[in-house]
């Protein structure tokens, strides 16, 4: 039983580090920022998720009591990764007027980064 868990933990560590490496490789090689944004938000998040699951399994088997620490970090990273990606994309759009001109236009409005909010905008609750 301990042997099986060792295989699972080792496999998850390898998968996790592979995705971390692919994410950073994408960050280094993709041609422009919007494309580079894809690599860290997806690959890196899954990589760290796999490593943290490996850690959960390892410590749960090693100590005999469930280890819940890692679940917190995993959830935190999965919730925050899209938020930071969204903020980075907004900052990128704001700093590049040529990109703003190429964006598709939404009905009856503009994108929030470059347009002031309308009078009847829904208030944050």
């Amino acid at each position: 039983m301990a042997h099986l868990s060792d295989i699972v933990v080792a496999g998850l560590i390898l998968v996790g580090s592979f995705f971390l490496l692919v994410g950073s490789l994408g960050l280094a090689t993709l041609p422009d920022l919007m494309r580079r944004l894809h690599a860290p938000t997806k690959a890196t998040t899954l990589g760290i998720g796999a490593l943290l699951i490996a850690s959960t399994v390892h410590f749960t088997v090693a100590t005999g009591t469930p280890s819940l620490h890692e679940v917190l970090i995993t959830l935190f990273l999965f919730i925050t990764a899209p938020v930071s990606a969204h903020m980075l994309a907004k900052a990128h759009i704001l700093r590049h007027p040529d990109l703003q001109a190429r964006l598709p236009v939404p009905d009856n409005s503009g994108w929030a980064t470059v347009t002031p909010p309308p009078e009847d905008a829904c208030e944050p609750r």
Partner: protein, 89 residues
Amino acid sequence: MIETACMVAFAAISVAALLNLWRLAVGPDVVDRILALDTLVVNAIALVVVTGIWWATAVYFEAALLFAMVGFLSTVAFCKYLLRGNVIE
């Protein structure tokens, strides 16, 4: 077996961190550098977690959690500064 996997993971994550550092150095824009820093923080968390497995100790988890929080907050603060010219309005 886990030791071997940890060694491979250390190597892979170190290469990943070097790639992030390269992106941090060349830019070209400030947003690229923020993205590189954000990814670097995630790789640092990964190194901390693998170190925890390697030494079979749970004392590093607070460090990983704090890294995650500070990394997220600093990314958002940088972006907020670029977007609004101010961090706390």
